[in-house]
């Protein structure tokens, strides 16, 4: 939008003037905003797109592509088996229905989050319960390597012990069901 004052520059600032009960809005460029604001007490707001708006726009562009290309029209029918959320609903609302939706719609979410956050790998806090599990998985991987080595050296007694340890650890992590 062009500045409503000078009609030259791009409007970047929205000025909302509240006088008594009436309210007027004006979209102007930075320079005109500075001129206008002067010493008067006003409320101002800046043009900015929230992440949700960006997401919304991206999703809509995506869905346009998919309707133009007949091969991908089926995508709108992709559905989460857990909560029933469809791709079409996701595009419309920008919201996911449940945690399972993340695996169902990962293909579409991944490029979006990559663009929004510049990244697609969580590197923050991990729940304690899960951290424990991750640690055990790491430990198991290490023992498995030792096991391989023991077998290659034909140290079968040691290998058997390592195998038992792996089974125990896997039970602890909930990877192996108790038979």
């Amino acid at each position: 939008m062009l500045c409503q004052m000078c009609k030259k520059n791009k409007a970047t600032v929205k000025i909302v003037k509240v006088a008594g009960l009436s309210k007027t809005e004006l979209n102007v460029c930075n320079e005109c905003a500075n001129y206008l604001l002067g010493n008067t007490i006003t409320t101002i707001s800046f043009t900015q797109n929230s992440l949700n708006e960006i997401l919304f726009n991206l999703l809509n562009t995506f869905s346009k592509y998919s309707t133009e290309d007949s091969n991908v029209t089926l995508e709108s029918e992709v559905k989460c088996s857990n909560c029933g959320m469809t791709y079409a609903e996701f595009v419309k609302s920008g919201k996911l229905g449940c945690s399972n939706c993340y695996s169902v719609f990962r293909k579409y979410i991944k490029p979006l989050l990559n663009r929004l956050h510049g990244n697609y790998q969580h590197s923050g806090k991990i729940p304690d319960s899960l951290q424990l599990r991750l640690d055990i998985i790491k430990k198991i991987k290490k023992i498995k390597d030792e096991l391989k080595e023991a077998v290659s050296r034909e140290e079968y007694e040691k290998a058997a012990k390592l195998r038992d340890t792996i089974i125990d650890e896997e039970k602890k992590a909930g990877i192996r069901d108790n038979e």
Binding site: S50, L96, G124, K125, P127, L134
Partner: protein, 351 residues
Amino acid sequence: MDVNIRKLRDSTAYWMKKDGPLSHIIISSRIRLARNIKNIPFPFRATDEQLLTVIEKVEKILKENKEFYGFQIIKLDNLSPVEIEFLVEKRLISFTLARFSKPYRGILYNTDETMSIMINEEDHFRLQSMLPGFQLKKVWEIINYYDDKIEKEIKYAFNEKEGFLTCCPTNAGTGLRASVMLHLPGLIISNKISESINTIIKQGYAVRGFYGEGTEFQGNLFQISNQVTLGLSEEDIINRLEISIKQLIEKEQKAREKLIIQAKHKIEDQVMRSYGILTNAKIITTAEALNLLSYVRFGIEMGIIARIGYDVINRLMLIVQPGYLQLIKGQNMKKMQRDTVRAELIKEILD
């Protein structure tokens, strides 16, 4: 009136009554965490029974954990529209929670309102912690502590790739939004605000008004928060935001120093006029009150007014709002009546 609402009406939040680091520019620091329970659909897709389960889990945690001693729970289903509006104005709940049309919405909070949890908002839980002044790290310590406690009782929806899974994928990862409320009259008066705010926006931060998302800027107050939630650790998000905020604080500080040299009388005049209107007006709107209060606050910050503390201004900033005002008077009031009652109340408190 709900008994807990009555208590909240008469009590003052810690962030309002105590000064914090850099209180002369920063009003408050706040962090919220979005969390969901594993295997229960997000609130807008959950059945009423599932939403009930969510709130029951919170009640169980409240009962069984000594860390939550002194916390209260309010269920929004039992409240009047004015009481809900009041909770929004007190910054305990969001517009989203206030407007959400499903049952079993709730708010869990401690008495000094440093820690609260919205239940069945966009996500099952929205943890929130708030302190006065500039101290995001301390806020993070508090909220992280309670997050850990809850996580011991509840399995969160989480995976290694997308972190904490949230209803809106833009919040995934840490689910963390840190925000700081700044009072920037110096930059406004010296016409440098657009430039300063645009720099912040270019750095990838969101800028909002006093009431949060989708609201106008009133009272020279700006709320600045992070948008990136995935790929950075909580500490990194906080550190980066702090760096940008520090630059903004410096700009405001410089603008104020310049103003006091170049336009001392003009500033004093503006401050005292604002005080004069606030203590003499017979009719006053919320917007006008907030703007005038901003200049009185500026007067305190600049050492022009000495006998009023930030706590008084903070309290006024909240109670001039329509919902709070009606709760104090204990009756529903039309706009004209509110404007009259507001003027009386401000005069009474400032005199």
